[in-house]
């Protein structure tokens, strides 16, 4: 279960989260993990630009949209937490099956 700024982003068994993450935040998180064998000079890992939003004035719509590489106009509306597969739910407008 992956949370971002107080909201659920994605929920699935651990193996699914690691192997086929759907939410852009989960993807960025998984991709920023270094493993033994990964060297800076061979493969520069990227962090997530920006910092988490202030929760005193949480942003409207998707809370990750300011830092999301895929964000588009629709993200100003809050994405529903949709079940996309057996045991796999995600809250992102870009995930197929989420379109309202």
């Amino acid at each position: 279960m992956i949370m971002y700024a107080g909201k659920l982003a994605e929920k699935a068994p651990t193996a699914t989260i690691i192997q086929k993450p759907l939410h852009p935040y989960t993807q960025a998180l998984v991709n920023s993990l270094p493993e033994v064998g990964v060297r800076y000079k061979d493969k520069k890992l990227a962090g997530i630009p920006g910092s988490p939003p202030s929760l005193l004035k949480p942003p409207t719509g998707c809370r990750f949209r300011a830092r999301c590489p895929l964000a588009f106009a629709k993200c100003a509306e809050e994405p529903p937490f949709v079940k996309v597969d057996t045991d796999h739910s995600v809250a992102c407008w870009k995930v197929p099956g989420t379109d309202a």
Partner: protein, 323 residues
């Protein structure tokens, strides 16, 4: 630039300091400009003690640390110490303990100004601080004038790096600086260290995380119970780990795509019982009766830029500091 020569640290413990606790014994390695050396070891292996000795926070019991050829222990008196800290700085594990919660976080910059740049004009100082903050990818308007509790761990940690950058930084002792950051901030700080490296700063990267050490460093030193068991170029230490302890350490790193249930069977027993010790094959008399004479070597060279220490893991006495 920074060299450690058979450095040892003995802490006095027990009532009236009656017992000796050898935290670091006979450690010898160098940090060159623009090079990152990771110091890897388990809890209690003496990693932080080495970092503290480099930063002159604790005294050196035996051996010497030299910086640009000058003995660090003999740096005394306000002026010399100040100029040493002008080049050698440290950042520690818990950023919250480096700040006084009563004062605003940017007070750490004012302290630097008071000590090192008393004559600098306010506007010039402000530009310098903002340039340092930008080089650690912080937005000055977001962090200046805030109290420590209003900033995240990653922001505080980067503020401390920015503080070191205000000085003429040559050596940075980074003691577990990213252990408490989340995965994406961690990578940001690591990339920042790599950027410092390309500017010619030598980094002593103290960590227990092998994958982070492997990611950032050119050379790796593996410490166990205060002794160096293996050291050398990072790709050699990780590619052909030779000491049984290094092998065990590398095989015990969890991997993202492997689950506990699959990996358990693979680890087995990496320490080969009764394997011959490369170190004692090469130097049969060194460390005899568990005591290393000051002239004894502590590591054997097994290939170019790859050294390994004694294999006798079960013998507590081996490696004990020569009396």
């Amino acid at each position: 630039m920074l060299s450690l020569n058979r450095v040892s640290k003995v802490y006095k413990v027990g009532t009236f300091g009656g017992k000796d606790l050898v935290a670091v014994r006979d450690c010898t390695f160098d940090v060159s400009p623009g090079e990152c050396v990771s110091l890897i070891g388990e809890s209690g292996s003496g990693k932080t003690t080495v970092g503290k000795m480099v930063l002159k926070l604790i005294s050196i019991s035996k051996g010497s640390i030299t910086y640009d050829g000058a003995d660090v222990a003999s740096v005394k008196g306000g002026g010399d110490v100040k100029s040493y800290y002008g080049h050698v700085q440290g950042v520690f594990q818990d950023p919250f303990s480096s700040y006084n919660p009563i004062f605003k976080a940017d007070r750490v910059f004012d302290l630097i100004r008071r000590e090192y740049f008393p004559g600098m004009a306010a506007a010039e100082w402000r530009d310098k601080v903002e340039a340092a903050l930008r080089s650690v990818t912080l937005d000055p308007s977001q962090v200046l004038g805030k109290y420590p509790h209003q900033l995240s761990g990653g922001q505080l940690q980067r503020l401390l790096v920015a503080r070191a950058l205000l000085l003429d930084l040559k050596i940075l002792v980074a003691d577990e600086i990213i252990s408490m950051l989340d995965a994406s901030t961690r990578i940001d700080v690591l990339n920042l260290l790599a950027d410092l490296k390309s500017r010619g700063v030598g980094i002593l990267f103290v960590t227990h995380d092998l994958s982070l050490g492997n990611y950032i460093s050119e050379r790796t030193v593996i410490l166990r119970r205060g002794s160096i068991v293996e050291m050398g170029a990072t790709d050699k230490v990780f590619g052909q780990p030779t000491h049984p302890y290094t092998r065990m350490l590398i095989s015990s790193v969890p991997q993202l795509h492997k689950k506990w249930s699959q990996i358990e069977a693979e680890i087995g027993d990496p320490v080969v019982k009764g394997a011959s010790c490369l170190f004692h094959d090469a130097y049969p008399t060194a460390g005899k009766n568990g005591i290393y004479a000051p002239t004894d070597p502590t590591l054997v060279k097994i290939e170019d830029d790859h050294f390994v220490g004694c294999f006798d893991l079960d013998n507590e006495k081996v490696g004990i500091l020569a009396a």
